[in-house]
Every structure is written in C-alpha cells, then in structure tokens.
Amino acid sequence: MKKGAQPIKKRRGILGALALIAIAVGLYRGLAIAPPDAYQGQVQRIMYLHLPSILTAYLSYFLVFIGSGMYLWKREKRDDILAHSAAELGVLFTALTIIEGSIWGRPTWGVWWTWDARLTLTAILLLIYIGYLMLRSLIEDENRAASAAAVLGIIGFLDIPLIHMSVYWWRTLHQPPSILQPNKAPWENVHPSMLIALTISFVGFLLLYFYLLSLRYRFGEMRCEIKARRLARGG
C-alpha cells in the first residue's frame, strides 16, 4: 500500500460522514420545518432532492468536459480517469433527477412523463452520457477509447446550451424557475426556511458527490495499477 493512502482514506471517510449529516439535516429541514408550498402542498417537498441532484449532475458534466479537455491536451491518465468517473456519476444523478421528477409529476401534472422542454433536455443529456459510457466500454484499445470518449465529452458539454435552446423553442410546459427570477431577489420569492433547507440539501449533495467521485477515482486508479502489474509480469 502506498504511504499517502491512509490519510486520504481517512479524509474520504470524513467527507462521507459530513455528506450523510448534511443530507440528514437538509431532509429534516425540508420535510419537517419548511412550510408546504402554497399551491402544490406537500408534494413540492421533493424539490429539496430534485434541484440538488440536477445541479450536481450538471457539475458532473462540467467535470467530464474539464477532464476530457485536459486529457486531450496533456495525455495524462488521471484526467481520463476523472472524466470517466464524473460521467458515471453524472448518469447516476441525472437518472435520479428523472425518477424524482416523475414522482413529482404524477400528482402535479397527472402524468409520469411528458415531452416538456426541460424533461426532454434531461432525457437527451442522459442519452448522451450513456452513449459516452457505451463508447468507452466498446473500444478495446484503452488509449483510443480514452481519446474518442474525450472528444464526445467535450462536444456533449458544449452542445448542451444548443440543445437547451432548441428544445425550449420547440415546446414548453414546465414551470418557469421560481427561485431565480430576473426582477426579484431570491429571498423575496420563497419562504426563507425553504431556501435554508434547499441550501443545506445542496451542500449535502455536493459533499456526497465528491465522496463518490473520490471513491470512483480511486477505483479507476486501482484498475490501472492492476493492468500495469499484469503487463509487467508479462501476461
């Protein structure tokens, strides 16, 4: 075992514990303390999970973009591992968002799924990054897989605003953003305790995300090490 492995492991454990605490506090504040929504009632409380998960997914795709760009530029294995890890987590959080959204949509709109702009956008994002993972797993040669995936990671991320616009002009049904509105400050639109719950929840999701990312990154490193050792032994 490497010398620096122990403290990193410990730090990762602390990160995980913090994430657990923050999510628990966020859930408590969101489910018990914050008032129910004036129009939607209790159902709205799923927002405390829904919003953090989609924001985390976007952060993840941004990291895929960064990792891919760095890999193509410097050709270092760790950037590729970062991009791969972030892509997997991005798919996970996007899928979570869609599931949560369906659970919310059923009582609110009366349907599990509709081809509304934002839903479609999220589904397309999921498809892009599932394609990314498929591409990676199908190319045998590791370096080729990494560069092909890096191209897709860059293109996919830069395509998001375009897909966003096109899908929005196509059709829209989803409620407009209720917290960030151009003519009002955030705390004028929603009850402050809702905002607090949402913030704590978001911080919790971020901590959880980085915990999972560091685990997944370590996993990628280990896979590389095993491959290197196998090569060194000549088989």
Binding site: G131, Y132, L138, N143, I163, S166, W169
Partner: protein, 97 residues
C-alpha cells in the same frame, strides 16, 4: 415422443455453437458494432440541427415570413460555428494516436 438420435443432437448443438462463436467473432473484430453505435451516440447531439431544420422546412412549406424562422437559422449557424471550430481544434489531437 421418440427421442432424437444422439448424433442429431450433437450436430445441432455444435451448429449452434459454431454460429454463436462466428457471431461473437464477427461483432468483436469487425468494428461493426462501433459503426452501428456511432449514429446512436450522435443522435442526441444532432437534436438542435434536427429540430431547427424541421422548423425551417415547415416555414418554407407554408411560405411563411423569413423572420419567423430567423431564430432557428441563427441556432443552426451557431451549431455550425461551434462544431466547425471544435472539429478543427480537436482533429490533430485525435488523429495522432
């Protein structure tokens, strides 16, 4: 029902096995699966182009005003600019390997 002669059974099984391994080899070596996958991977990325051309076409068919299709034309132009630039920038990095 009478049992099939055992030679038939083995023949049948070996045929299946042969077919199976042929398929596996075919898929794995021909790179065909990658060729099939490419449109699947690219489809979600092409959505702005698909939607934009559909709307522009619709506008042409009902002989609408040019102004109505302008946002879509701009979107298509933006797509072209971004992907042309990316293509030029990324090409060298990808081909060298």
């Amino acid at each position: 029902m009478r049992r099939l002669p055992s030679t038939w059974r083995t023949d049948f099984c070996s045929d299946i096995r042969l077919l199976d391994s042929a398929f596996v080899r075919f898929w794995a070596t021909a790179g065909l699966i990658l060729a099939l996958l490419l449109p699947l991977v690219l489809f979600p990325l092409m959505i702005p182009v698909i939607l934009g051309t559909i709307r522009c076409m619709e506008n042409i068919l009902r002989m609408g005003e040019l102004g109505e299709a302008l946002p879509w034309l701009r979107l298509l132009l933006g797509f072209d600019v971004i992907f042309l630039t990316l293509g030029v920038l990324l090409f060298d990095h990808v081909i060298e390997s």
